[in-house]
């Protein structure tokens, strides 16, 4: 798969191609955060009282919390009162059809290489577009509805399916879980909601495209995916942002719930603006993602390709509660220039014979720091639990750092946990071998890096691989911005 090569080329040499802004009329809240702002957000979205109260409770908890400092990332203190917590493209009313979407927004997505219409027809992917904090369009809704699948923005879900939202929201990532989750719970503005009913296999990939557009704002989206008994869904997430000198905050929460024998596959290509060569600007990506394998024989699989963001702080996790449930985490994290990534996963084995597999590939170049931080926890009752972890790091250049911080906690004698990690550079022997066969140095590096990442890239769904390549490839030169 060539996208791996292109990813690396892109981050090690290329410029950020998605750094344009779109002159859409935006409706933004004044900077700052207090209970009135939260009430305003809630009111603007026409939310029921219970949700407003839920937000305010989260806000009160957040005020009592401290920013996490344990990650291996450094940044100046964030002034949470300088951020605007709501930015929405101004529109009179909800678009009736895709044609009603503000042409500027449509053009933005076209620049990104995802023409809303074309994509849906060609790739057969149902997409929810989140522009700044608000979902602007969801395609293929009708077709999904026939199967009983609900795929809409979370605001719509609150309105149309309050019983589902109320039942599951905050059950996997409770509002007081951590500093950024609490902040998100207080101010989240939109995001995607998916419900797949019993026994339904979602026939297409569901996808959300996130874009931060407005200046001085943060993006706080919330995604909730519920796979009912015996169902299957594959969900894709992509993100970009304009180039700005300031640092923008992205603090999302993603909750996945898989009931008996259900399977959720969640793939991310994260390409937020990473800042310029000197480390100026870029997105702070502080995200809480967690899946609950609630039912027996359920499965949650996370795949992520992390290339963007000035700072990534992200640990997609699985709580393996149901017996024989399975958790997977496949990750490629590429950092360059002054980027810092502290990412990994948590696998908490509660149920009997639960299994987890972690494959993490970190590539550090320039002056960046790339950390894998993970936890494998096998509880007393997790008889016969099994974990395999492999994390490899590749260093390109001598000014970068690659770190591995795994925690393994085992409390059951019949469980087996294995962890392996290596750190290396592209060996001269490998390079020489390729070069002696007439492959240029650049291509040889790409080839080797490709091989290094392959295990993870193979996990990306086909449709997404195309988009990933589109997003990351050098062929994009001149076609955007």
């Amino acid at each position: 798969m060539s996208s791996a090569i292109e990813t690396v080329r892109e981050v090690t040499g290329g410029e950020y191609k998605w750094g344009f802004t779109t002159p859409v009329e935006e409706e933004t809240a004044p900077p700052g955060l207090n209970e009135d702002i939260i009430r305003m957000i809630s009111k603007k979205k026409g939310e029921p009282d219970w949700l407003t109260a839920w937000r305010l409770e989260a806000y009160r908890r957040w005020q009592a919390m401290e920013e996490p400092k344990w990650a291996k990332v450094h940044y100046p203190p964030i002034d949470f009162q300088a951020i605007s917590y709501f930015a929405a493209p101004k529109q009179k009313e909800r678009p009736k059809s895709l044609d009603d979407i503000d042409p500027e927004i449509r053009r933005t997505y076209e620049k990104l290489g995802i023409p809303i219409r074309e994509q849906e027809i060609l790739a057969g992917v149902a997409v929810d577009y989140v522009f700044d904090s608000v979902s602007v369009a969801t395609t293929f809704k009708q077709k999904l509805e026939e199967l009983g699948i609900i795929f809409c923005s979370i605001s719509e879900a609150v309105r149309d399916h309050p019983e589902l939202v109320r039942k599951y929201l905050g059950t996997v990532v409770p509002p007081g879980d951590n500093f950024y989750a609490a902040l998100n719970s207080a101010v989240f503005t939109d995001g995607s909601f998916v419900y797949v009913p019993k026994g339904v296999r979602c026939p297409m990939e569901l996808s959300t495209y996130f874009r931060i557009n407005a200046a001085g704002t943060g993006q706080f989206e919330r995604t909730l995916i519920i796979a009912d008994e015996g169902s299957y869904v594959s969900y894709l997430e992509g993100c970009t942002a304009p180039m700005r000198d300031e640092n923008q905050l992205h603090a999302a929460v993603v909750e996945l719930i898989a009931l008996d024998e259900a399977e959720i596959k969640y793939s991310t290509v994260q390409n937020w603006y990473p800042g310029d060569k000197d480390g100026k600007g870029g997105i702070y990506n502080f995200v809480t993602k967690r899946g609950l394998c609630k039912g027996r024989r359920s499965k949650i699989s996370w795949t992520q390709v992390e290339t963007g963001s000035a700072i990534t702080w992200k640990y997609p996790s699985c709580i393996l509660q149901g017996e024989e449930s399975v958790g997977e985490f496949y990750s490629v994290a590429v950092t360059n220039n002054h980027q810092q990534a502290d990412t990994g996963t948590k696998m908490v084995h509660i149920g009997k014979r639960t299994r987890s597999r972690i494959v993490s590939k970190g590539i550090a170049a320039g002056r960046s720091n790339n950390t894998y931080r993970g936890l494998v926890k096998i509880m007393r009752g997790a008889e016969g639990a099994r974990n395999y972890t492999q994390c490899d790091s590749l260093l390109i250049g001598d000014r970068c750092g690659a770190h591995t911080v795994p925690y393994i906690e085992v409390r059951n004698r019949s469980a087996v946990a294995e962890h392996e990690a290596t750190t290396s550079k592209i060996s001269d022997d490998q390079l020489f071998y390729c070069r002696s066969r007439g492959i240029s140095e650049e291509d040889a590096v790409a080839l080797i890096v490709n091989g290094f990442c392959r295990e993870v890239m193979d996990e990306l769904p086909m449709e997404f691989a195309v988009e990933a390549r589109k997003l990351l490839g050098i062929s994009l030169e001149g076609s955007v911005g």
């Binding site: 260093l395 085992v410 392996e420």
Partner: protein, 448 residues
């Protein structure tokens, strides 16, 4: 409000310090008295760690050390027990400490080669007091409250110095015996080892004790190896279950120096080994092997930091744990490769065997790498015995229980076979067999 990560030591320490400081060795020296006061202030500044301190996440020590215990005098130790712990052969030199005080009449340091000096800190206090401050001062950046506590309260310690090229044949054994038969107490011994360029030493360190009154040992070691020097340092820790043993070593290696450190933790209510190796010259090599076997309610914590500061160094960590009963074993190893340390070759392995459903293993093998031309890897496993290996033995007629015992013993054997001194290896094997479930049957069957 966030809860505090460290807590102030109990006032009993302050009282003890005020009461005892004029009787501690070297108290007549203003410089040393000032150093002890300064060390005490640092203890208060840093505070004793709760489990909210990342380095102490899995080990709560406060309950055991929060209150000061008296600094005991030496008592008459049970000689048979001491003798059983003698290692290094008939030629070996030996320093014996009882309750942290050197007992010269039991020790044997005669007939040393030229250029080798073995002395104790208390003897130095009488003869060369001017050297004491330099020998007991922790590094300025020292962040461990326990290291400073040791600097404030030490009553004894060994100083071993070898001049360039001195290579004594006979090993040197340091034997620490804690007598907790009648009274609880604490000791803060200090070990200083300096090897000149090309020198070589085989050092054996044994910790044992008797009694259930409770003993806390806070040992601090400072080891410096000159260019091309070689140290084999073998440690057996087998104190009684009432004991708390905290052993912190800082080992510095110059170019081409070589360290082999074999450490077996086979007893003690709470044992924590902090090993910090600094590879400060190119071509230095450190091989660290460890075996720990906490049973019942014991707790062992292996805390290892290997700093690759210069290019072309090699380090290898090999730690194995067997955990039974309600015991808990912790391994926290970190390899740090500095920006200039190209061509580093570092490996770290931690394998654990859980024997009971109430035991727990927490392992945290870390890599922190800032140079690109390096080979660093680690592996960690936690699990039960290999079913196919068990099947193999059963197919050859061994009962299930015996097969399990044999495989468990063999698991430990991988570390034991790296122990250089045969006497010490024998003592360790004895201790391991006592701890392996069904170990006695293995001997009776003649299988080991």
């Amino acid at each position: 409000m966030a809860r505090a990560r460290t807590v102030l030591p109990d006032p009993s320490y302050e009282e003890l310090f005020t009461r005892a400081r004029n009787r501690l060795p070297g108290s007549q020296l203003p410089e040393l008295a000032e150093l002890r006061r300064q060390a005490w202030r640092r203890v208060c500044e840093i505070g004793l760690p709760t489990s909210r301190v990342e380095e102490w996440k899995y080990t709560s020590i406060l309950g055991r050390v929060q209150k000061a215990l008296p600094l005991l005098e030496a008592t008459a130790p049970p000689l048979e027990q001491l003798k059983a712990a003698f290692a290094g052969g008939v030629e070996a030199r030996r320093l014996i400490f009882v309750n942290g005080r050197l007992v010269p009449e039991l020790s044997h340091t005669g007939g040393l080669p030229d250029g080798m000096a073995i002395t104790s800190l208390e003897r130095l206090a009488a003869r060369q007091p001017e050297r004491l401050a330099a020998l007991t001062r922790p590094a300025e950046e020292e962040g461990s409250a326990f290291a400073w506590l040791n600097a404030a309260f030490w009553t004894s310690g060994a100083v071993v110095e070898l001049a360039a090229g001195v290579r004594p044949q006979a090993p040197l054994q340091l034997l620490f015996f804690q007598d907790a038969r009648e009274q609880a107490g604490m000791t803060h011994p200090r070990l200083v080892v300096r090897l000149g360029p090309g020198a070589r030493l085989h050092l054996i360190e044994s910790h044992l004790g008797e009694g259930e009154a409770g003993q806390w040992v806070n040992l601090v070691g400072a080891v410096e190896l000159g260019e091309g020097a070689e140290l084999v340092h073998e440690v057996m820790q087998a104190p009684p279950q009432s004991a708390t043993l905290l052993a912190r070593s800082r080992i510095q290696l110059a170019a081409g120096a070589r360290l082999v450190r074999n450490i077996a933790s086979l007893g003690g209510g709470l044992v924590r080994n902090e090993t910090e190796v600094h590879l400060c010259g190119s071509g230095a090599e450190a091989l660290l092997n460890g075996l720990y076997m906490p049973m019942e309610r014991e707790h062992v914590d292996q805390f290892v930091r290997v700093h690759h500061e210069q290019p072309g160094c090699h380090s290898d960590q090999f730690f194995k744990g067997i955990v039974g009963g309600k015991a808990r074993a912790v391994f926290a190893g970190r390899i740090m490769v500095y920006r200039d340390a190209q061509k580093t070759n570092a490996y770290q392995a931690n394998n654990n065997l859980l024997l009971s459903d109430e035991a727990e293993v927490d392992t945290k093998p870390e890599l922190e790498i800032f140079a690109d031309d390096v080979k660093c890897s680690h592996g960690a496993t936690v699990g039960a015995l290999d079913p196919s290996a068990l099947f193999y033995l059963r197919a050859r007629g061994l009962p299930q229980a015996v097969a399990e015992s044999l495989l468990t013993y063999a698991f430990a054997g991988e570390v034991l076979e790296r122990v250089v001194d045969p006497h010490l290896r024998g003592q360790m094997a004895r201790r391991v067999l006592d701890r392996v479930p069904g170990g006695g049957a293995l001997e009776a069957e003649g299988l080991v």
